[in-house]
């Protein structure tokens, strides 16, 4: 394996100059996002440096409980982030988000590390943490899209749902099309990235492995596994999110309980 060319602080400063392009566009077109751009840039630097330090520390120690602690905090943060993106919420939505994120991410990540890659020991942080990160980043998007669509459709399609209920449909018969649409919405991003992978976009993980000196075909194999893992997690997350919100926004008496929906 060839060595990666290390980057100096000066190199990073030069890269930061690229951000000036965005800033210049913002000024020229009066977009008014200059300040947010700077804040986002600073956040990127600080957050990534911090996670870099944490990962170096975790990799060096290789203790299972440290890995588990990092793992849990990533999952919880993803669950919170999935809900935070929503404009509308209902009581119990945080537990919906956390449940959907944790079940979908944990199942698919361990399926890959244990059954596909065969990581030894099971908690090897070099594999577990980056893979979990990729799964979470995508499944939380799927979950928040599904939740957003579900809550929005229950409201806007209320008449359609009630037209079913009034002719004796059960709540599931009446809301099933809305659940299906919500799940579909949650899965679309990963469907899109799977179909353009390699043609339009070179996925980040694969690019990273190639830059790090891996043979492209090996990198591709990993990318395929990761894509399928993400697809599994997004679908599972979207289904869980839709089903759990169904249980919160529909009563056992086959009624809509839209009064539980609040703006964030």
């Amino acid at each position: 394996m060839k060595q990666v060319i290390p980057l100096s602080p000066w190199d990073l400063t030069v890269a930061a100059g690229l951000l000036l392009t965005s800033a210049a566009i913002s000024v020229a077109l009066q977009l008014g996002i200059g300040k947010r751009l700077v804040i986002a840039g600073v956040r990127t630097v600080v957050q990534l440096l911090l996670i870099g330090l944490v990962l170096q520390f975790v990799f060096a120690l290789e203790r299972w409980w440290i890995v588990v602690a990092v793992f849990l905090s990533m999952v919880i943060n993803a669950g919170i982030a999935a809900v935070q993106r929503l404009d509308v919420r209902y009581p119990g939505i945080w537990s919906t988000g956390l449940t959907a994120v944790s079940i979908s991410a944990v199942l698919t990540t361990f399926a890959v590390t244990e059954a596909v890659i065969g990581v030894e020991p099971w908690y090897a942080p070099r594999y577990l943490i980056p893979l979990l990160g990729m799964v979470l980043g995508n499944s939380l998007t799927g979950i928040s899209l599904a939740l957003d669509r579900m809550i929005g459709d229950l409201r806007t399609r209320r008449q359609e749902i009630e037209a079913w209920l009034t002719v004796g449909a059960t709540s599931w018969e009446a809301v099933r099309p809305i659940v299906a649409d919500a799940v579909r919405t949650g899965i679309i991003p990963i469907l899109n990235s799977m179909s353009v992978a390699g043609i339009v976009a070179l996925p980040g993980m694969m690019t990273g492995q190639i830059l790090a000196g891996a043979a492209p075909v090996d990198a591709v194999k990993y990318q395929i596994v990761v894509m399928f893992m993400i697809a599994g997690a997004s679908s599972l997350g979207a289904v869980l999110a839709a089903m759990l919100s169904f249980r919160r926004l529909v009563t056992r008496r086959h009624q809509l309980a839209l009064h539980r929906i609040r703006s964030a």
Binding site: R157, R158, Q159, E160, E162, A163, W164, L165, T166, V167, G168, A169, T170, E173, T251, R252, R253, H254, Q255, L256, A257, L258, H259
Partner: protein, 227 residues
């Protein structure tokens, strides 16, 4: 004979949009053959009560009996075919009118009942709708056409009790008259009862034999005979 009995109904937070709650508790008895008009200023809870009677609104309190049998959890779908609520507005779905009518027979609670196209078409004709209209999308229908298709859908289900919310608000006089005729025929077919919300006093007079009036604060007055 009491067909529908509601005791202590209260809706704390109505499910849909800005609908007023029903502070209640409302007691309501509907005898077979009775035709009850609900009156009151807008926002006083007429629609909420109709929706509560069809168990579409989560009840804060209260229970409903149909023919002396309490409606238990899980029986709502079958109950809603018997006590059918017809909303003031129907969704303009991207669906043909015929498919929408047929929808009424898809739920499992429809049991052995099948969609009878001929019956649907003859009801449409009696309401002054052309046969070809059932092939058109709900989204293309005029307000009055949609309202009449919705009544056909309600009648096809053969409910015992109809809860009608401003059912003729978009109809001209001729169509309204046909509508009332169809409703009258339905009422004559055995044990039937009607609860009507209508802004038209003459229509209430024609269709109903009793009335109950909501006051502005949401309390419901006693049953009075309409003469």
């Amino acid at each position: 004979m009491t067909l529908l009995l509601a005791r202590g109904l209260r809706v704390e937070a109505a499910s849909a949009e800005v609908r007023p709650p029903l502070p209640g508790p409302v007691d309501l008895r509907l005898a077979a053959g009775q035709r009850l008009a609900l009156e009151g200023p807008s926002g006083s809870g007429k629609t909420t009560l109709l929706r509560a009677l069809s168990l579409l609104e989560p009840l804060g309190h209260g229970e409903i009996e149909l023919c002396g049998e309490p409606v238990r959890e899980g029986q709502e779908p079958a109950y809603r075919r018997r006590v059918h609520y017809l909303a003031q507005q129907s969704a303009r779905l991207a669906l043909s009118a015929e498919a929408w009518l047929e929808q009424a027979f898809i739920p499992r609670s429809a049991g052995g009942c099948r969609f009878e196209r001929d019956r649907a078409l003859s009801l449409c004709e009696r309401l002054g709708l052309e046969r070809a209209l059932v092939g058109r999308s709900l989204a293309e229908l005029s307000g009055g056409e949609l309202q009449r298709v919705a009544l056909v859908r309600a009648l096809l289900v053969e409910p015992w009790v109809l809860l009608l919310d401003e059912p003729t608000s978009a109809l001209d006089d001729a169509a309204r008259e046909r509508f009332e005729h169809c409703l009258g025929d339905w009422l004559e077919q055995g044990q039937r009862a009607l609860v009507l919300v209508s802004h038209d006093p003459a229509q209430r007079q024609r269709l109903c034999d009793h009335r109950r009036v909501f006051s502005a604060d949401g309390t419901l007055g006693a049953t009075e005979v309409l003469s």
